[in-house]
Symmetry: C2
Subunit: 253 residues, 2 copies
Amino acid sequence: MASQGSTRQPKYQRIADALKVAIRSGEYGPGDRVPGENDLMATYEVARMTARQALGVLQNEGLVEARRGAGVFVRSFRIRRRRGIQRLAQGQWGSGRSIWSADIDDRELVVDQIDVGEQEADSRIAGALGISPGSRVWVRSRRFVLEGKPVLFATSYLPSDIVADSAITRPDTGPGGVYARLAELGHEPVHFREEVRSRMPSVDDAERLSLSPGTPVIQIVRTAFAEGGRPVEVNDMTLDSASYVLEYDFDAR
Amino acid sequence: MASQGSTRQPKYQRIADALKVAIRSGEYGPGDRVPGENDLMATYEVARMTARQALGVLQNEGLVEARRGAGVFVRSFRIRRRRGIQRLAQGQWGSGRSIWSADIDDRELVVDQIDVGEQEADSRIAGALGISPGSRVWVRSRRFVLEGKPVLFATSYLPSDIVADSAITRPDTGPGGVYARLAELGHEPVHFREEVRSRMPSVDDAERLSLSPGTPVIQIVRTAFAEGGRPVEVNDMTLDSASYVLEYDFDAR
C-alpha cells in the first residue's frame, strides 16, 4: 500500500483519509491505539514528518488523541445527552431535585468547585438581565466533573434585588436548587431561552475543562424568565464538546 | 509596557491577554486591524517569534484572522440567528436582550448548490429513520450562502417508500418546500428532535464552508416525526460556527 503519488492529494492527507476510513468502519474502535509514526513510516514508506502530519490531521479533527509515551488513540466519545427541554419541565425542579438530575444517566455529575459572590453587572450581563449596567448581581460559578473529568463550567448571574438574603447567595442553595428558591421568592421561571454557540477554547477554558488539543467548546447562554417576562437568571455555560450532545425535542405546533 | 518577566506566564501569553482585553473592551472593534508582529516587537521589546506566538493564540481562539499581505484583523462575527423553535420565539420574551444581540444580523440565506438523488441508506441513516439498512432513500444536499460566504451544508434523507415520484425527488420542491409536500403525502411532520454537537471540521467541511483556520463546526441532526412517531426525514446539517448562534425558546411546562 505504498503511495505512488498518483493523485493530487498530498501523501499525508491520503494516509489520514485511510486511517479515518478505518476508524469509521470500526477497525479501530474508541480507545484503540492507532498506528504510530513508526508504523505509518513502514506501511506507507514515507518520512517521519509525513507520518506525523497524517496523525496531526486526525488530532486536529478531534478523532484521536495523543497520550504522552503511550501512542495515539481513537477518542472515546463518552458523551452525555443534555436535554434542553424535558429537563427544564417544572416537575424536575418543583419536586425538589436538582435541575441537573435529568442529565445523569448512570454516571454522576459532581460539582467540584463552587464560588459565590456579589458584583456589579457589566453591560453584557446587564443587557441580558434587562437591568442597568453597574447594578448588583449575585454570581454563582460552578465546575462539574464526570468520573474525574471536568466537562462543564457554569456561571449564573441573578439580580441582587431579587435574591439578596436568600439561599441563592450561599454555596448550598438547598433542595431543588436555584429555581426552587426563585419560585419561593415569587419569581418562578416559566420560560427559558437557550442560545448556543461553538468556538475554540480560551486558555482559561482549556485549563478549567482539561481539554485535549483540537477540542472546541460549546457555549450555552440560558436566560430564565418569570411570568410577565422579567429575566431572573442568566447562566453562561461552557461545555467540553467531546463530552456532550445537546438534545432539543419540540412539537411543530 | 515592556514585559519584565515578573509573572509565571510566558511572554507571548501575556501579550495575547493584553490584546484580548483590548478587543473585549472595544478598543479594537470587529474588522479593525490589530497590531502586527513588528508593532508587538517594538511595543513589548520581544522577538518576532514571541510576537507571532501571541497573535497565534488569538487566531487559534478565533478572535482574529490573518489576511494575506494585509495584516491581522478582529473577526467580525456577523452571526445569523437560527431559531430551533419558531412558535415560541416571538417578541413576548423581549425584556432580556440576546447576549449576542449586537452581532446578530438576520439576513437571507441563498442556496448556491443543490444535489438530489436516490441511494441505499447506510446503517447510521437507516437507524435514525427506523428502516432496514440498504433500504432506498432520497438524498437532498444543499449548500447555503450568506452574502457570498457558505455558512451551512445540509443533507436530508427521506424514505423512498414515502417520497418516490413526489416533488421531493426534484431540485425544486415547490411552495412550502419538503415539509409541505410531506404533509400532502399524508406524513406531515408534527414533532422534531434536534441533536447538536460541535467538532473540528473535516477537510470536506473546511472546503465546503470555506472555513478560516481555528473555526469549529456545529453539527445539527434534525429528525422530523409524523403523527404516530414515524421518522420521515433526517437532516444532517454542518454549520460554520463563526456564523451562527442557535436559539431555542421553550416554556417550563
